[in-house]
Symmetry: C2
Subunit: 242 residues, 2 copies
């Protein structure tokens, strides 16, 4: 019967098995906790070898759609409902993607031995040098975001000689520091005098704040705080599956 899902095209068998099961889960026909057929039952139903259904089920398990338990069987997982994929693009890319002209302005750049505050912010223990950068991004000549960044020079020595007056440090790092891990913290503040002036908004206007810590195999690279006018900027996150 399941074989009768015939049509002219043919996705591979294991993909069809996976899609069949996924569909039943997504439509609610097999609710969370439901035991899906054993591998040997699916083998019989689809008339294929066990490795084929195993591949389908393994992928579903990897996608957290089902949970597999030895001796017990495979079960539809309860939806997680808590993770969304948030795209935090490079600001320049984000602005040009909107079809607006990107502007960048370096406000300040200071190379110094890491202060206690710097070390706390970067989460490093040893002494060393850092670069502190302040800059502003604009879209169509309207302030878009102000950036306050710290780079650990012991992790990224070449940043000491990089020319941040032309290239935003975010873009520069993106091209010079290959693999990273990061943590973003999003919050809201009201603009103080300095922020209001930099963003050309009223004092007391809402701002969206993104604090980002980037590291590479347990080594902190950079800490950055981005301030956006809260009423004009929006972060969009999408998620799928529960």
């Amino acid at each position: 019967m399941s074989l009768a899902t015939d049509s002219a095209d043919k996705p591979t068998l294991y993909k069809r098995i996976r899609a069949d099961i996924e569909k039943r889960i997504l439509t609610g026909e097999w609710p969370p906790g439901h035991r899906i057929p054993f591998e040997h039952e699916l083998v019989a139903r689809y008339g294929c070898s066990r490795m084929t259904v195993n591949k389908a089920l393994s992928e579903l398990a990897q996608a957290d759609l089902i949970e597999r338990r030895r001796r017990a069987g495979s079960f539809v997982r309860r939806p997680q409902h808590q993770s969304a994929v948030l795209k935090i693009a490079d600001i320049r890319a984000e602005i040009t993607a909107l079809g607006r002209s990107y502007g960048y302005e370096l406000i300040g750049r200071k190379l110094r031995a890491a202060t206690t505050a710097d070390r706390a912010r970067l989460g490093i223990k040893k002494a060393g040098k850092v670069i502190a950068i302040a800059c502003r991004h604009s879209a169509d000549n309207v302030p878009f975001a102000v950036e306050d960044r710290l780079i650990d020079l012991s992790s990224v020595p070449s940043a000491a000689t990089a020319d941040f007056s032309r290239e935003p440090p975010g873009s520069w790092l993106l091209h010079h520091v290959p693999w990273t891990e990061a943590e973003h913290t999003i919050s809201a503040i009201v603009a103080d005098d300095r922020t209001a002036e930099a963003l050309d908004i009223a004092v007391g206007a809402p701002c969206l704040v993104i604090d980002r810590y980037t590291w590479r195999s347990a080594r902190t690279i950079t800490a950055v705080r981005l301030l956006y006018p809260g009423d004009s900027h929006r972060l969009v996150a999408r998620f799928k599956g529960g």
Copy 2:
């Protein structure tokens, strides 16, 4: 030589192959664009069958760490650098996870025929009924967030008779509407009179706003706006891989 990574424990072979390759990519030894060894080379190196290395490589491909091209080989992918996984937990779960006591209060509940504004907000075309809910969540008796929600009753008929005076609509939906897709928009506003009173903060204080639209196979289920005191609430997103 790769076999010489011996230790007492033994993760399965394909996992070790996967980990070996992943490590070389993450340390930058194999930079983006680098061609990783052919399957038959890995077969020779690890002394196993092709299916075993294939499984390792397939999982790496599924995780977007490598790209596989027929006839050409497998290549390290360029880091994406733009998506972070943002955990947006059920508020009750979030608060209890912090070890604080959760409080819930229904402010208003209205069942009505969908107005034009309702339909616009839910993105539905046909006439139908909706429920509008206003409620407040608190942690240790301090206001934590206020919620303003709309549920499409044609998608979730049973919501009409649900008792939202005890259970938050978010939790209720979580348990009654299995699989969904959602979009979150995050922004910042300053508290107006009504919000300030509901959150027990000053008028003009910053608030983090999450607008969430949830649907299930192209069918809108609910639209919700959550307002958090911006200085006390933070959203954390983590990402890995560039």
